[in-house]
């Protein structure tokens, strides 16, 4: 047992009798082991928490008004080292408190209690184009937080480390149950909160990157919502080639019904959350198929399909087949933004927003370089206004935030590796560290609040619209 600590603790050995208080470290540096010196302490509370929970980090028993560095290091599921650090000056009482004090340098500036988490970046030795995504949600991120002497960088940790603490960051709360779903043709993973239920639920859709992305669902279940992560492209258990969407409307209907019909899910309290291309799917499911979600959450995605249809049921061609709207920056990184500009979408693929019958929250990162989110949000707003349905629409818009608005206290990648074949392609997501982090924190709160209002409380809007509200004892 024991987490993998980057670098490991130094192995001290004593020198000769003349300086028997000195400790020779194994890389040649010397640190004075003065047995009368105070021993600094670094504490983090709570040491085990969900990824969206704040942690209080404090250093104590330090000399007053002295420079120190707090540094965070962890390994991704792929084994890449990520790190963050910040420079502080200790207070007059020899403490440093990240919930109150200001960073004067490093991965972030100012008072940022969670800066060491959202400010994480691949270590200098890491591979390029990385993006931090948890593949295995049943294990935590194990983070080593260290207190270092002076204003230094993490590479100097071994010779300057004063104290350390290890924290675990979880996507899955104790008692959350994870079940792989391969049923009725549906490929997904279901997360159920602890307890008897029944629970309100969410269908969870991601973008063209494909595969099965579980972490947001795991977190939603940890917050009391049954959640089904659904794969629709790029998964070996789906039919056809990995690079095409080979499933249509009936697939998404099956997935929604699977969730709705689950004995531990409240059938009339099922919503959908989508990011990127998942937004188009969310809107399409809500307006074109037979299912009736209770509410929708859309993050930075298009109002029409960005891939050509080979099939009226929704099956598409390859995303890379039409590159006319791709743009490149000086470094050869590609932006897909213009692909989803409403004017560039084919008319027949545009979702009929006016057919919306449930509340919709649309979240915009104003520095989104992967999707035309501002334009998409505007179009949705205008369409709903014209249809007399403005009361269904809520829009959150964040300056400086990029495409990947994900659960909070996780780092943003402004760009990352998109594909390696036929050639290596890095795609731009956008977003600047501090504003993106603030957006994630605020958006997540508002997402949970929106879900609580629409999936837990009385179904007010439906009542006002005169629709029948089926009884479902869905408590707490």
């Amino acid at each position: 047992m024991g987490p993998k600590i980057p670098g490991g603790a130094p192995e001290p050995s004593t020198l000769d009798g003349n300086c028997n208080n000195a400790v020779l470290l194994n890389h040649g540096g010397v640190r004075w082991k003065n047995s009368f010196r105070q021993s600094p302490v670094l504490t983090a509370a709570p040491v085990r928490a969900l990824i969206d929970e704040q942690i209080s980090i404090k250093g104590s028993f330090l000399p007053p008004e002295c420079p120190v560095t707090v540094c965070a290091q962890m390994h991704s599921d792929d084994g890449d080292l990520w790190e963050a650090f910040a420079h502080y000056n200790t207070n007059a009482d020899g403490t440093v408190n990240l919930t109150k004090d200001h960073s004067v340098g490093g991965s972030y500036l100012g008072c940022e209690p969670m800066g060491l988490f959202w400010g994480l970046q691949p270590a200098p030795c890491a591979r390029e184009g990385l993006r931090l995504r948890k593949k295995n949600v049943e294990t935590p991120y194990v983070m080593l937080l260290s207190l270092l002497e002076g204003h230094v960088s993490p590479s100097e940790r071994q010779s300057t480390e004063l104290a350390a603490v290890i924290t675990e960051r979880w996507y899955m709360a104790p008692g959350v149950r994870r079940t792989e779903i391969r049923q009725d043709g549906v490929v997904g993973t279901l997360f159920l909160p602890p307890g008897p239920g029944p629970f309100p639920a969410m269908l969870d859709l991601w973008g063209m990157g494909g595969g099965l992305v579980e972490y947001r669902s795991a977190l939603l279940a940890s917050r009391g919502y049954a959640s089904l992560s659904l794969a629709y492209i790029g998964h070996k258990d789906l039919p056809g080639s990995l690079t095409h969407i080979n499933v249509g409307d009936s697939y998404f209907e099956s997935a929604f019904h699977l969730l709705q019909d689950h004995r531990q899910v409240c059938a009339d309290r099922v919503g959908i959350i989508g990011l990127s291309f998942g937004v188009y799917l969310t809107l399409r499911i809500a307006t074109k198929t037979v299912v009736k979600p209770a509410c929708l959450i859309c993050v930075n995605g298009p109002v029409g399909s960005t891939v050509k249809f080979s099939d009226p049921d929704g099956r598409t061609e390859q995303f890379e087949s039409d590159q006319k709207y791709w743009t490149y920056n000086d470094q050869g990184h590609v932006s897909f933004k213009d692909v989803s500009l409403p004017a560039n979408l084919s008319a027949e693929s545009k979702v009929k927003i006016e057919h919306l019958t449930c509340p919709l929250m649309y979240i915009v990162g104003e520095d989104d370089l992967s999707a035309s989110s501002i334009e998409s949000a505007n179009l949705i707003e205008e369409t709903l206004k014209a249809a007399g349905k403005s009361q269904l629409f809520t829009c959150l818009s964040y300056p400086g935030a990029g495409h990947l608005i994900e659960p909070p206290y996780t780092p943003n990648s402004r760009a990352s590796l998109w594909s390696v074949k036929p050639q290596k392609l890095v795609t731009l997501w956008g977003g600047h560290p501090a504003p993106h982090a603030a957006a994630q924190e605020d958006a997540w709160k508002k997402i949970l609040d929106f879900m609580e209002r629409n999936l837990r409380r009385e179904l007010l809007i439906k009542k006002n619209a005169g629709l029948k509200v089926p009884l479902c004892s869905c408590t707490i």
Partner: protein, 356 residues
Amino acid sequence: MGLLWSLRPVPGSKPWLRMRKMNVQTPMEVTISVYPGYQTEGFLDQVPLAGVVVERWYMAPGVRRIPVTEAGLTATLFLPPGPGPFPGLLDLWGGGGKLVEYRSALLASHGFASLALDYLTAKVTIETGKMVDNQYFERAYKVLEQHPQILSSRIAIIGLSLGTSITLKMAVYSQVAKLRCVVCISGSHVQPVDGSVEQIMSFFNKNAEKTRFNNENHMICRDLLLPIPTDPSLKVDVGQLQCPLLLVVGEDDQNWPTHESAMDIKEMMERAGNSHLLTLLSYPDTGHLIEPPFTPFAKASSFRAVSSRQKLVALWGGETAAHSRAQEDAWRKTLVFLRANLYGGVNTGIASFSNL
């Protein structure tokens, strides 16, 4: 935290259980559920309205658990995460014996290297039938003193019940142990001066006829040391103590005369002029087993002292709420005391805690 400290074995369980986490590497998993109305029983037969699962840990991430068998010891060392060096603690439990790790794991989670020591059912005792001698404890002290990640000048001992007897003995009489401070919980200074473990236990057994039993046939041992002797050869001379002492006692302790002992210790130290070293925490309606907080309270439980073959039910004393609140308060103050003495200050440890 009442749901945690008022946990009881469900009806139909074996009687007189006491909850102790012996495997500290896994958490206690607690399922907390909500039921409609005011109910008092039958929970297992119903579906709750909602539930949640909580993990309660003794060990923080990164704490290292190291079994120690060198120098003939039966012990486990817990090291906090980080480079150190850390202050060190020797952790001694009571007459029930065994290697009890949870308090040490928790102390390491709070930044103290802590060595849980089995001194009654140690391997050497099981194999030879002989109880350990005084040097056994000094060897344990040396393990801490010589460890490269432990500060040799910042070592303390925390003892409960019989562990207190050992702690006071070492603090006053050991030539080897240089202690920065000591914490004595639910213990007494009454014992043959600088006796071995065996001598101390025989001394207790000599008075065994003073054992009482209440209406429920629970054993009350507090009279074994009463009245507190005036003979100086039968009490650790606490007037010679040179380091701060945190004394924690429950005023309803039915197992050991800890309150009376505490009064006598205080008087002895006042007469000797070193009472500024004493901090006394005395809790009404609190029993013998003053442990880290938020764990279930047991007023009485099955107990087999290592010296006897008989399995009895010992009465520990205390009332649930008062005892649980005392545990919370005592633990918090213990950590403050240890931090101030072992982490803070460059000179001698801070003596008294009038602000506690």
